[in-house]
Amino acid sequence: MMAQRIATVKTHRTQTAWIRQRGQAVAAYAILIVVVALSMYPLFVMVLNSFKTDSEINWNPAGLPEEWTLASYAAIFEYHGGMWVNFLNSVIIATISTVLAVLLASMAAFAFAKYEFRGRNVIFALLLATMMVPFEITIPPLYIAFAKLGWLNTYQAMIVPTLASAFGLFLIRQYMFSIPSALLEAAHIDGANHWQLYWQIMVPTAAPILGAFAILHFLGVWNSYLWPLVVATERAIQPIMVVLPTLRDPVIGFLPVWGTIMAGSVLATLPIVVVFIVFQDRFMASVVVGAIKE
């Protein structure tokens, strides 16, 4: 009798607990779905409106296109001076910058992590100390210098200032510290020279962190807006980010052409999305890795 009552109480209790937990789970999913819907909606607007005609966007900016069209994408390639050139500029600038920045930072990181040399700590401390100084401070002198060199409206003006990343150096050095030096010693005894130690051992072993830094750096350069706005005033050399906000109706000058702008936005986002889809986990890991080192 007593045992039976205890048993019923127990099942009753587990039942309410089960119901409560179930309720919490439903609430949790509801919150997540709302959050995701809100965060995805602007993305939908961007993609959907890129498939509408400019006039349809005016009366139907929020919904599905009634008439799907590729006119806006065609417009990117045709009028507005052929915006694929600007897209290509962005690709060239971000790619060259990333390759060189990773190379420079990883070479220096290798030396700082695995060699002892006079001045090592002083130089490294100096590099770190200036990480707080915002890049924007260098804009006036760099502008003057590049103007004197005749570098305004060139690729190098947009690439060169991004090459020495103290952040990347720090990130990669931390990782290289954790690579056992025994690897290097073995290769060294086998007769590998310094460059081979770097290129054949350190670079492959440190590939995860190099990839993480490459993603963050590419993202930064791809998104950069202020500096290109300063040094690239000619349409043909501007990256896509500078051109996108300026697109106007060729006939009625002041009206933004939303179809073309949205199609351009999709295009400007595409390379990052591709990298994100291919390297999903590493992409998000790079965000974390960039944050871990206090």
Binding site: Y115, I137, A166, W222, V287, E294
Partner: protein, 308 residues
């Protein structure tokens, strides 16, 4: 030390690889750091120092520069637009940082909890707004919040001047910053939370703590460094804000002063070829960033001491 090439591990004695002394061995590390250091000296440290010097001169880009003492700084500080832009920047920072980090943290708690399954699905989906190019996302928000043909006004049948009214516009900028940033910090918080060992948190529950107490006294203190990092990095980024307000508000150019961030003053001076003045704005920005970071470290240290 000079016996050969020295290969070392942190916290361990240097392991000397015995080899004949070669000139190249001492030179090697310098050759490895040379490209980076030269690029850094010529493109960062050099220009930064030159900019400091320039901030005390009047220079129009040609002819001679005249020394003017602190006048670039004093005239900047006396210029009312400087204060408008500083106010805007501080507003953008303070109005977005709390919702941004709280929201990101709560989402991370939620996705980590046992209530939710499919973490491999939620994580990338919540991160996704970050993948959109900054300029593109600002333009999308511009079309969302247009007055006449805007998406939001069309859905609700209203005609709210979101991007014409200065006060409203500032909140739209904040909304954009939160919308874009949540996924980024969510991923970082999630990693921080996942690195907490479950035993520590379970021990609190076993000792009779409520889930709320567990969060307050166990989880949050363990996340302290991550929060400090998030506040500091986000503040630095906030004072360097440029792209979002300018692309969101303007029609293809530069945002009006009433909603512009501090960097617009640097750009404005640059375009008027007032290079000394532009440099002074840059250094004022740096001083503000350092002060804000310093205060944040102090506040964090004090609140932890109180907690302990």
């Amino acid at each position: 030390m000079k016996a050969g090439n020295v290969v070392s591990l942190p916290g361990q004695r240097a392991v000397v690889v015995r080899r004949r002394i070669r000139w190249g061995d001492t030179l090697a590390p310098y050759l490895f750091i040379a490209p980076f250091v030269i690029a850094w000296l010529t493109l960062f440290l050099g220009p930064a120092l030159y900019s400091l010097v320039l901030s005390f001169y009047r220079f129009k880009g040609y002819g001679t520069a005249t020394f003017v003492g602190w006048s670039n700084y004093s005239s900047t500080v006396q210029y009312h637009v400087f204060w408008t832009m500083l106010q805007n920047t501080v507003f953008y920072w303070l109005a977005h940082v709390i919702p941004l980090l709280v929201f990101a943290f709560l989402l991370a708690l939620l996705v980590r909890s046992d209530l939710v399954k499919g973490k491999r699905f939620w994580k990338p989906v919540i991160f996704l707004p970050n993948v959109i190019a900054v300029v593109a996302s600002a333009l999308v928000f511009q079309s969302l919040f247009g007055t006449q043909y805007g998406v939001i006004n069309t859905i609700f049948g209203t005609e709210v001047p979101w991007l014409q009214d200065t006060t409203l516009t500032r909140y739209i900028v904040v909304l954009l910053l939160v919308w874009r940033g949540v996924g980024w910090w969510f991923v970082i918080f999630l990693a921080g939370l996942t690195s907490i060992s479950p035993e520590v948190e379970e021990a609190a529950l076993v000792d009779g703590a409520s889930p709320w107490q567990q969060l307050l006294y166990v989880t949050l203190p363990l996340m302290r460094n991550t929060f400090l990092f998030a506040f500091v990095i986000d503040a630095i980024g906030s004072f360097r804000l440029f792209t979002e307000p300018n692309v969101l508000v303007s029609r293809g150019g530069i945002a009006p002063d009433a909603v512009a961030p501090l960097l617009n003053l640097l750009l404005g001076n640059l375009r008027d070829a007032r290079f000394g003045q532009a440099s002074a704005v840059g250094w004022l920005l740096f001083v503000i960033v350092v002060a804000v970071t310093f205060v944040q470290f102090r506040v964090f240290r004090e609140t932890t001491e109180e907690a302990e």
